[in-house]
Symmetry: C2
Amino acid sequence: MERIPILKMGKFLIVSIQVDMHDELALALQEDLAEQIVKTRAKGVLIDISSLNLVDSFTARILGNMTAMARLLDAETLVVGMRPAVAMTLVELGVSLRGIRTAGNAEKGMALLEAIVAQQAKSNAPKST
Amino acid sequence: MERIPILKMGKFLIVSIQVDMHDELALALQEDLAEQIVKTRAKGVLIDISSLNLVDSFTARILGNMTAMARLLDAETLVVGMRPAVAMTLVELGVSLRGIRTAGNAEKGMALLEAIVAQQAKSNAPKST
């Protein structure tokens, strides 16, 4: 597989990562995601990692980069579906997911994204005249 | 990867198939999907195949089986993101996707699923007393 698909759902984009990341795939995903955020004017990105048995420091960095990049393009990112074993390994390895929001599953994640985006829209809204 | 993840989004389930199907994986996916449809009472299933370069007769049969199974469990299935080359190959191979609904992308698919489910709810609604 040369590309990880990005699905558009309403205001949001959904990325389901099912294979271990390597350099080329990660780079392609970041490029595709940046392009899609701009093209679709998405306000949020949901990244599902429920298929991953292992999140190493490389993958953690990629997730962090995507989050930072999406934020620059005015979209919030949420990582969902982390397995308990993955969380334990991340802590043991001392890998931090600083700046990365997480939620238990896709549905909760979507609700949280909706709430965050609604909150931002409210605080960014121009004063009524 | 031993499992293809199934994401719940509102009334619907989303399955993103990113790897070529083999017997074991296909069987696991069918089991998981049936279980999730019942557990979540999902009314529709969206299957994204935009990552697939090839849909052979085996994969086509699996898609057909999943559609039929979901229908028995009272859920509609929609296949989205088929690549042009895949459609051409299916026709050349003489593989039919009978009974399988398709849509161009995930967003259109979701809208179509919403419409189908709303239509069904209407026609199934008990007469008002």
